[in-house]
Symmetry: C3
């Protein structure tokens, strides 16, 4: 690897670190800022993804839809407080399309309930497309592929 | 990122890797060596941290207090053998104060009991201040912010 | 760290990322390709490793034995479909022997059953020896040291 490749790898790792920190600190209002305006965001299961079924638990095709999602979550917040902790590893460029990069990463999310009970909330793989603009790297597409068939929540939160 | 920034990022990641390896191999006698002499070490909960309550499960203000802690743990070792495994991700410089860096990272600790039972022991965030000396990077301050309200142990171990 | 050291560190991290992706995508037929022909691959427990007991849950001394292992697993696949997710962190060169590197890393494997139940499947440490050939880095030796005494599976799968 040469210096530009190394710098790019670390910048991408920082993108995922900042993304995780945003979600874990419940700063959901800032979550759409990680995406370009005409983004695709999708949460699906590995089963559906492999069978090429298009829909998912969440399917959004613009940053505005992500903002709407956050508003809906804020209004529907009828649950007990809980905390999420994202562990992201293995950030890896899969393909370089010059104007964009296909990037994959593994994630594991641990949920801590108010009584202290900790559970494995979600595990899976990010299959993303990222672009570099003047303000740094953003997601043009993020597909969250869950290892499980479902997630234990009534209203799917961003992952 | 330029070369010095990249080198610094990787050196910091190594600091956390070595720190985790020290704890996971139960080499607690070496644990204080990761800190400067006038360090602050604190384990607290997210709830207490956000409410700005000063105290915590552990609060030490010098490397000697950390050494005392290790001695106490060794003498009180009345529990069945268990193993801890730290997964640390998202090491990220939050602020550069020239003489020191504010660094954050996510951690997840898995505990394995002697009968093989594995549990999520702790998850949370390190909010640290690190300084570079002739012998490399050390913690001037380490705040361990637990996602949970408590940890499942009678005598808090280093995290 | 200088540029060649940085490049080497990131190349090693990519080796572990690709290794995890191979196992997690159930591409077991490609798993032996991560090893040199005269490799050693061993899964053992921390207890056995520390007591210097040579055997383990798996012990192979060539790439062909790894291929045989995969064939056996494919024929014996009598279990319900499940997914594994490897989180690998703390990749760290322990010693540089010029012709090879001793490398350690932490791993955590989460298993998701078809009904969505997620469990901590394995945690531990890789103690590896890697060599660089014309086709990149390969494992000359991989010792998988489990924190637990056993793993919850009848026929040990690659880790």
């Amino acid at each position: 690897m040469n210096l530009p490749e190394i710098a790019r790898q670390l910048e991408l790792e920082h993108l995922y670190t900042d993304y995780a920190a945003c979600l874990d600190s419940d700063a959901l209002e800032h979550w759409p800022e990680f995406f370009v305006e005409n983004c695709v965001y999708r949460i699906t299961t590995a089963e559906n993804y492999e069978a090429d079924r298009p829909l998912g638990l969440i399917y959004a095709t613009s940053r505005n839809m992500l903002k709407d999602r956050v508003s809906a979550l804020r209004q529907a917040n009828i649950y007990e407080p809980q905390r999420y902790r994202h562990m992201i590893s293995g950030v890896r460029i899969q393909r370089d399309d010059v104007d964009a990069l296909e990037v994959a990463a593994n994630f594991l999310v641990v949920r801590t309930m108010q009584d202290g009970a900790m559970t494995l909330f979600a595990a899976g793989r990010y299959l993303d497309r990222v672009v570099r603009g003047v303000a740094g790297w953003h997601f043009a597409r993020k597909i969250v592929v869950l290892d499980s068939r479902q997630i234990d929540t009534l209203l799917a939160i961003p992952l």
